[in-house]
Each structure stands twice: as C-alpha cells, then as structure tokens.
C-alpha cells in the first residue's frame, strides 16, 4: 500500500484523535467525558506538533559517546510537546478538582443540569427570576405605551 505510508497513518492518527476529542466535547453531556474529550484533543494536537518535523529513521537528538548520528530528529517539537503535556496535566488535575466540587455542590455532572443550576444560583443571588421565565424586564414593558393608549382612547 503506497498511499498509507507511515507519515499518512500518523497524520490520520493525529487528526483522528482530535476528531474524537472534539466529538466527545460536542456530543456528550457528562462533564467527565467532556474533560476526557479535551484530553484527547490535546493528545491529538500534541501528536500533530510532533509530526510537524517528523522524519522517518531519524535518531534521537542525543549524542552518545561522541557518536554523531547522520540524521537527528528535531528536538524543538519534542521540547514543546513536553511542555504542552505538562500543561495539559495541570489543567486536567484542575478540571478534576473543580468537577469534584461541582458534583458535591450540585449533585450532578450532567452539563445541562449544571448549567441550569448555575443559572438558578446566579439568578437567586441577583434576586431575579430565571431568565427562562417569560417575565419581561421591568422597564421595557413600562415604556410609556400603555399610558399612551389609555390617554388617547379615553378622551
């Protein structure tokens, strides 16, 4: 198979990982799945970064006993990916700790319910009804239209 050389397979893997990650974020409603979706997406992006200057057969960019290899891999993406992975880990841990707290507070990790309860909390704090109720903002309804009609149909 000529079309599917290693390079192509790797690229498909990278894009595929991103695809799966994005699908996870978009399709699922459970926060854990969404968080894992992000992790997958990041993995895909990392792989893409690694592939950016990938050369088949290149050796690791390390000099062992003055034996300089003929073809060394690009060290920059490797360093970048190292950084990106660590960042990803940090954020993942943070996401998990937040998820624990959210689950403790709202008793659910379903995105829709969380959203609803969050909205409820904000509205309660501000002392207003939930926006989904059909009550209009105070002053919009009070634009002096009503009085216009009363005035002019009255006389």
């Amino acid at each position: 198979m000529d079309i599917l050389d290693n390079n192509t397979i790797l690229y498909i893997a990278a894009f595929g990982l991103m695809l799966i990650g994005i699908s996870g974020i978009v399709i699922s409603n459970h926060l854990m799945r969404i968080i894992f979706g992000i992790a997958l997406l990041e993995a895909g992006a990392n792989l893409l970064l690694l592939l950016s200057t990938y050369h088949e057969g290149a050796s690791a960019p390390i000099i062992v006993a003055d034996n300089i290899p003929t073809m060394m891999a690009d060290p920059v993406p490797q360093a970048l990916v190292l950084t990106a992975i660590v960042i990803g880990v940090g954020i993942l841990a943070l996401a998990l700790s937040l998820a624990i707290r959210v689950q403790r507070a709202y008793g659910t990790l379903d995105m829709r319910e969380v959203r609803l309860k969050l909205e409820q909390e904000i509205s309660d704090e501000a002392g207003i009804d939930m926006p989904s109720s059909s009550e209009k903002p105070d002053d919009i309804a009070k634009v002096p239209l009503n009085s216009v009609v009363q005035q002019e149909s009255g006389s």
């Binding site: 992006a45 998820a99 959210v102 909205e119 904000i122 704090e125």
Partner: protein
C-alpha cells in the same frame, strides 16, 4: 541585558515565595505583592521613553533568534504590559478567605500578562496564554461559591478546547515554516503561509486565543463567569486580560497572517459578537450580566476594527482598546455593590451619589457621546470602515451604530433606576471607599483624556504605526536565516 524581563520574572518569583514569606510575617506577605508590582511598573515606565525611538529585542538566555526565545518590546506591547501591571495593582483582589492565594494569583497574572504582551515567540505566547488562563481560573474560583466553581469549569472546558486548537494551529505553522520566532515568521509568511494551511492555522489560533478575547463563538463563558466571579476579578478579566488576548491576535495579523480571508473572518465574527452581545445585554436584568454581555459587544467592535486592513485598523483598534481599558474595570467596580437585579437599584443614587454620577459619565463615554473619548474611538473605527467602500464593511458600520443605540437604551435604563425617587424595598450599600476611589480614578482618566485628546491621539497613532511596522520588527530581532541540513 535589559531590566525589562524583571517585569515578568519578579512577580513570578514573589508568587513562588509568598507562602514562605507569609510564614515569617503576615504583614510582609500582604505588602510584598503590591510593592513588587510598583517596582515592576516603575521598571516598565523607565523603559517606555526609549522605546519610542526604537523597539527593543531581548533574547532570553542570550541565545540567538530564532533558536532562543525573543522578548520584543515596543511601545504597543509595553503599553499593555503596563496596563496589566498597573491594572492588577489597582484591582488587587480582596478576598477574605483566600487572601494569600489570591495575592499570589494576582502577582502571577501581572507577570504573565506582561510576558504575553512582550513575547516574540509563538509557542512562548501559547505558554504565557495558558498560564494566564490557569491563573484566571484561580481568580474566578477564589470567590469560593459553588457557582464560581461551576462557571470556572464551564470556562475551563471552552478554554481547554480553544487552547488545544491553538496548539494544533501552532503545529501547522511550525510544519510549514520550521520556526516559531515571530520575526522570522514575518519573513517567511508571504512565501510559506499565504495558503490554505496558513489560513487554517490562523483560524485555529484565532479560536484558541479568541476565548479570552471574548470572540463570538467561544465567548459563552462570559456571562456566567462575570456574574459569579468577584467584581474585581471581572474587572480584570473584562478590562485588561481580554485586551491582551486581542493584542496577540493583532500581532499575529500584523506579522504573520496576511490573507484577506483572515480579515473577513474577523469582521464576520466581530459583527456577530456585537449583535449577539448587545442584544443579549438589552434584556439582562442584573447589572453584572448586562456588563458582561455589553463587554462582548465592545470586544466585537474591536474585532471589527482589527479587520480593517492597514494602519488605520490598528490605530482604531488600539484607540477602542485603550478606551475600554479605562472604562470597563471602573464599571465593574461600580457593579460590586450594585450587582443584584436592576429593579432593586431604584434610588441607589441617594446612597452613593458619586458612584451614580460616575456611572452616568462612563455610560456616556461607552455609547460615544462627544466630546468624551468613546466618541473619538468610535469615530476612528467607523471612518475607515466607510472609506473601504465594501458592502460588508458598510454593514459593520451600521451594526456598530445600531448597537450604540441599543446600548444607550439599556444603560440609561439603569441610570434612570439609579436616580429614581422612590427607593427600593431593600436598601443597598454605599460603595466601599477603595472601590469607589479606584473607579473614580479611572473615570478621571477618561475626563483627562478629553483635554489631552490631540497629544493622546498622536501618541496612539505613533504606537500603532510602530506596532504595524513589520520591517522594524524583523530588523530589531534580526533572526538568523535557517540553514538546511542539520547534520554536522
């Protein structure tokens, strides 16, 4: 060697050591943060004049560009680095529970923001950006309510999504050019990035960095976060941090991505942002979310300004950004005590007349009433839009003007409430002195700008010209041309 790196490094160092210092002396830990920021602001200000003549490039670790990471300081970047530092100083978080951690986070934010504004390396920008994101999670969550945790998590999901896309974009850029140095990218871009790959990379990065800049499809976190975070944090995020993300996008546009489609994407998303934000704000019934939605709208205006090709667009965007930099934090500070429903604000002007008067001033400037600075900023955006003579740009101008009328309507609805004669059932508190003083200070800046309009406009024009000068950028950084064949 330049002391400029201290603007970034010193706050980080202090943040690392703050908890240790706290163990030695609580008082020292409390004053340490502001003092350090004062010092870094002083460093920044001392460098400011010399950057007017020539920008400055510093290589971290002394390695030659493009191998090492470049720090590129022009007045444009330094302006926002200073804004970040001074802004954090003014809006120093005051949380009773997590004071120590909040202080560390604020320090980190200041350092990171400065670094982001001054960075000259694509991946370095990404890392700074991520750090800033994490720090803002912390600041939002430091309020400690379950709402703030939930909104942080929602924010984190969107942000993580965006960041991964931005990383993919960076991968595409590195794949095409083999470098991450912005100066070198500027050299190589016309040849290697002026294609679909470049465009895809731009869109990915736009989405990634747009999360913080409240770009339209990735700004769904804004209303929730600003409603649940403490007002000072909202002020920082809406006022300063969003501008830094915008600055990154501006830098990328100026240096790397020159496709006309890129501008169109910005324009369309900007228009959508203005429309959705201002319309949503019109119906908001609590002040915090009203301000959040309106901030989406104003960021949309900045994106529209950015989409104007050439120097005029940079100048316009800069003017709107600087205006917003003063205005939005001050509004959020006023919302600190007025955060509840707008209906409940009736008669609030009686308890805090200065705050109410300031709110009127800010509203007037926001909707662009001459001779306040907001008017001139708006003028600078719309004039080049109309001069371009293209239907979409005409439409953008129309949208901005129509949005301003909506803005006038909903902001003055609040003003009317404030001055209503019958007070609300629940009395509201007067503003905390420090909040009010800060807000007044920022508002005074706006008024002062009216009197210094002409020199100010000249200065901003100069900054914009310097920022959009690609050849100076390349010359200052002077990256080594890349050689082929890595084997020695």
């Amino acid at each position: 060697m330049s002391l400029l790196v201290l603007m970034i490094v010193l706050p980080l160092l202090t943040a690392f050591l703050l908890s240790s210092i706290d163990r030695l002396s609580t008082f020292a830990a409390r004053v340490m943060g502001p003092l350090v920021l004062l010092a870094t602001a002083a460093i920044g200000l001392s460098v400011w004049p010399q950057l007017g003549d020539a920008p400055l490039a510093v290589q971290w670790g002394g390695f030659q560009a493009p191998l090492g990471i470049t720090l590129y300081a022009d007045q444009f970047g330094l302006l926002f680095a200073l804004a970040m530092t001074i802004g954090t100083l003014l809006l120093w978080p005051r949380s009773t529970e997590n004071q120590l951690r909040s202080s560390s986070l604020a320090l980190l934010l200041a350092g990171t923001g400065s670094g982001l504004a001054l960075s000259g390396d694509l991946f370095n920008i990404y890392v700074f950006y991520e750090l800033m994101t994490v720090v803002s999670y912390g600041l939002i969550a430091s309020r400690g309510t379950s709402g703030s945790f939930a909104s942080t998590l929602r924010y984190l999901v969107i942000s993580g999504f965006g960041a991964a896309l931005a990383l993919a974009g960076i991968a595409l850029v590195y794949q095409a050019t083999g470098t991450l140095n912005l100066a070198q990218l500027a050299q190589l871009a016309p040849e290697k990035l002026n294609n679909l790959q470049g465009f895809a990379a731009f869109v990915l990065m736009l989405v990634g960095f747009g999360v913080k800049a409240e770009l339209f499809p990735v700004n769904m976190w804004v209303p929730e976060v600003y409603a649940t975070a403490s007002s000072r944090v909202s002020a920082l995020l809406a006022g300063v941090v969003s501008k830094l993300a915008l600055l990154i996008i501006m830098r990328l546009l100026i240096l790397v991505f020159h496709q006309p489609e890129a501008l169109t994407v910005l324009l369309v998303l900007g228009i959508l942002g203005v429309v959705s934000g201002e319309l949503a704000a019109w119906r908001a019934r609590d002040l915090n979310r009203m301000l959040a939605f309106s901030s989406i709208g104003q960021l949309g205006v900045m994106f529209i300004a950015l989409s104007i090709p050439g120097n005029a667009g940079i100048f316009a965007a800069l003017a709107v950004m600087v205006h917003h930099l003063f205005l939005k934090p001050s509004m959020f500070l006023l919302a600190e005590r007025w955060g509840g429903s707008i209906k409940g604000l009736a008669g609030a002007a009686k308890t805090s007349p200065l705050g109410a008067a300031l709110f009127v001033l800010l509203s007037l400037s926001l909707i662009g009433v001459p001779p306040l600075p907001g008017f001139w900023a708006k003028l600078l955006v719309i004039m080049p839009l109309l001069a371009l003579d293209q239907p979409l740009y005409y439409f953008a101008a129309f949208v901005i003007l129509a949005a301003a009328s909506l803005e006038a309507n909903y902001l003055f609805r609040v003003v009317m409430k404030l001055y209503e004669k019958e007070p609300a059932a629940t009395p509201h508190n007067a503003h905390a002195t420090l909040d009010l003083a800060t807000a007044v200070f920022l508002g005074a800046g706006l008024v002062a700008a009216v009197f210094m309009l002409i020199p100010l406009a000249d200065r901003l024009d100069g900054i914009a010209a310097q920022a959009s000068d690609v050849s100076t950028y390349i010359q200052t950084v002077a990256p080594q041309p890349l050689q082929s064949g890595g084997v020695q």
